[in-house]
């Protein structure tokens, strides 16, 4: 028996802030004190609050330590583990709490969250099937094996679960199609090819709770009459792949995978396929082609994968987060519980990857219908550096931006679609007044343009033409007709592209034009980028009245473009300046201004 469990976040975010080194230091310290056998150290899944990583949570005391350094470990061992006293210095502190906060329920970041999918993440050891079972794991599978397959489909449909990967199709209905499709050989495919640049929830689920995915797939297999599954996972997620492999092996040993599972006569074989880097493979039919070893190109539907899927057999494709919900729904009384959370048309919770210019970045799970304001301000703690909130991009390159005035918009499938965005994967990238909307549209379009597989003309050529226009605008070469041209191209691409990539990729352009038309017009008519992003359309100047000559900007400039004596106002050499923005970030006195090119006096607008 261990006295305490020490969960060290071993997910990507905290690993990059150095959690491995922390773990080493902690181990060393425990050994030095000769008490290492009393504690169980676990490199666990993600508790979500990546911003303050590396994180350690100590159970059963329920104490949350954050922003740790290796040198803190001695104190943590001596004071907390040996002395039994909380190390206050290492608790969460922030402008949003009065006193250092001790655990999840007192930290504002967690206050509005509701954990379904992330229920085990950061709580159990992801490499231990026993801990998963102890938390109720595989019970839903057991129940499903005693149910009629159609009844499982109905239960999931009745719970109101909709696909979490993008379009939000009802999962139970999808299963029903495969179940009814003729044929003895059927497949379940888990789409873990998370491609949205800036979203990483699937990765965290896979890394933090891999058995939930296996259980979800097994139940799906039972419901659809499938006996083989593929997990198609991005090769960029080596840790997720490793954890999945471990989980599969353990499940096989426990008789939860393989033949005659739990004596029910149900068989299931699990395979892992590593993706090779192609955004379009998030599209069902492209993903299937890739599993078969071909170029990942989508094909027209019908026939739908439920009839003709991988290797020509009926196939159900579900995304990671969708599958992670399944064990919760199918367990005894689970569907009723599940339905209680969410809105009319969108039940349950959604995991969001909150990133960008927000104070608390990380992974957030909230009830469907939570508002943008709640996520960004209550959970996210507002905008970094106290700047002004401008917009949030929901749904990645297929989604759209939602401006500040729609801050009360509830986040659910239907409200987002009405606003021109989509739920998509659940990426939320927050932008402040230093983000240029033209640049953002250009960024997303250059992404989709590169990732377009080239099979259909509207997407291949159309995105190229749109990108050219946006590039021109951001270089100051835009003409007034450009906006209409963009609009008409966008609609043609949406209407006539073969797959979801093309059908949704104009969304970022359409929404930025819809909500930020004046910014486009300013670029085109006045050659000015007020956010200071489009390089030919602005310059930085130093406010000569107020600069106190602290030299902070001089030091941070990577090209030595700033001149000036100490305590004398500095000046920027416009010839040398690369407009990288380092100085404006650095200046504590707001003395660096974004101005129109060539203007000295016209400071600030």
């Amino acid at each position: 028996m261990y006295e305490k469990h020490i969960m060290i976040c071993g997910a990507t975010g905290c690993l990059s802030s150095g959690s491995n080194q922390i773990a080493e230091a902690l181990k060393e310290e425990l050994e030095k004190q000769g008490i290492k056998d009393k504690y169980r150290l676990v490199m666990g899944g993600c508790p979500g609050f990546c911003e303050v990583g590396p994180i350690i949570v100590i159970y059963p005391d329920e104490v949350f330590y954050c922003r740790l350094k290796t040198k803190d470990m001695a104190e943590l061992v001596e004071q907390h583990l040996i002395g039994g006293e909380i190390v206050e210095r290492l608790l969460y502190k922030g402008p949003d709490v009065e006193a250092p906060a001790r655990f999840y329920d007192t930290i504002p970041f967690y206050s509005k969250q509701k954990f379904n999918v992330l229920r085990n993440s950061g709580i159990i050891d992801p490499e231990s099937i026993d801990e998963y079972i102890m938390r109720g794991g595989y019970r839903a599978l057991k129940r499903a094996l005693q149910m009629d397959p159609q009844a499982i489909c109905d239960e999931v449909k009745d719970a109101g679960l909709r696909g979490r990967g993008g379009a939000g199709f009802p999962t139970g209905l999808k299963w029903g199609f495969t179940n009814k499709a003729p044929g003895d050989k059927k497949y379940i495919v888990c789409n873990a090819d998370e491609g949205d640049p800036g979203a990483f929830m699937d990765r965290s689920i896979l890394e933090g709770d891999p058995h939930a995915i296996l259980e979800g797939m097994l139940i799906a297999g039972r419901a659809c009459g499938a006996d083989e599954g593929y997990i198609y996972c991005r090769a960029e997620y080596p840790l997720a792949i490793r954890r999945l492999k471990t989980a599969i092996q353990q499940a096989e040993e426990y008789g939860l995978l393989g033949t005659n599972i739990l004596d029910s006569g149900f068989n299931f074989k699990m395979n892992i396929k590593e993706g090779a880097g192609a955004f379009v493979c998030g599209e069902e039919t492209a993903l299937l082609a890739s599993i078969e070893g071909k170029r990942g190109m989508p094909r027209p539907r019908p026939p739908f994968p439920a009839q003709v899927g991988v290797f020509g057999k009926p196939t159900t494709i579900n995304n990671v987060e969708t599958l992670a919900n399944i064990p919760l729904i199918v367990r005894e009384g689970g569907a009723e519980e599940f339905k209680k959370v969410g809105t009319e048309g969108s039940k349950g919770t959604k995991v969001f990857a909150l990133a960008g210019k927000v104070r608390n970045t990380g992974l957030v799970e909230g009830p469907m219908g939570i508002t943008i304001e709640e996520i960004i301000f209550d959970v996210g703690g507002g905008i970094q550096g106290g700047r002004e909130f401008k917009a949030v991009q929901a749904g990645g390159p297929s989604g759209g931006c939602i401006p500040q005035d729609l801050i009360n918009l509830p986040i659910d499938y239907d409200s987002l679609t009405k606003a021109g965005a989509i739920m998509g994967s659940g990426g939320l990238v927050v932008m402040d007044d230093r983000t240029c909307m033209v640049d953002l549209a250009k960024y997303f379009l250059s992404f989709t343009q590169k990732e377009s597989c080239g099979k259909c003309t509207p997407c291949r050529e159309g995105t190229k033409r749109m990108l050219e226009i946006l590039e021109r605008i951001s270089e100051g070469e835009g003409i007034p007709e450009d906006l209409d041209t963009l609009d008409s191209l966008a609609h043609s691409i949406k209407d006539s592209s073969l797959c979801g990539l093309g059908q949704t990729c104009p969304n970022p352009v359409l929404t930025t034009i819809r909500y930020f038309r004046h910014e486009y017009e300013e670029h085109i008519n006045e050659n000015y980028c007020r956010s200071g992003i489009c390089k030919p359309l602005f310059q930085y100047v130093i406010d000569q009245e107020n600069c106190n000559g602290c030299r902070a900007c001089v030091r941070v400039c990577p090209v030595d473009a700033i001149e000036g004596e100490k305590k004398e106002p500095h000046e920027i050499d416009q010839e040398l300046c690369t407009r990288c923005g380092s100085c404006i970030e650095k200046c504590r006195f707001d003395c660096i201004m974004i101005t129109r090119v060539g203007s000295e006096a016209d400071v600030g607008n």
Partner: protein, 152 residues
Amino acid sequence: MQEQTSKALSNFEGKPNEVIPMLQAVQDETGYLPEEAIRDIADLIGIPESKVYGTATFYSQFYFSPRGKHSIKVCLGTACHVRGGMQVMDALERELGIKAGETTADFKFNLERVNCVGSCALAPVVMVGDNVFGRLVPKQAKEVLEKSDPEV
């Protein structure tokens, strides 16, 4: 090279759906896909070389020429983009004297853009091997290179 390729391919049966795993195995061994490897895979499966090549070029993971000792991966995912990833890329391009996608003449570094490495909280992020450099400003470009290769 030939030896490495055969070693990488020794565990496969030669089924058509093994093309991508085979390409991945070879690249893991040799760092890129030499021409002979494409030929070997085609022979093993019994399909034309053009088919294998076609599949390989479709995916961004595969490389067809030798690469630098250290791969500098600059994240330009959305979170890194809005927090100035491009500025960091510019600075690295300046420091190395190459453009994104190229390799330095001494084969020490190659510079690459990637989309989201899952460390958005630390944006903008650069990854070199397993090392993640977070919250970077352009001025730190040199430091990243020095820390990645002591001889710089």
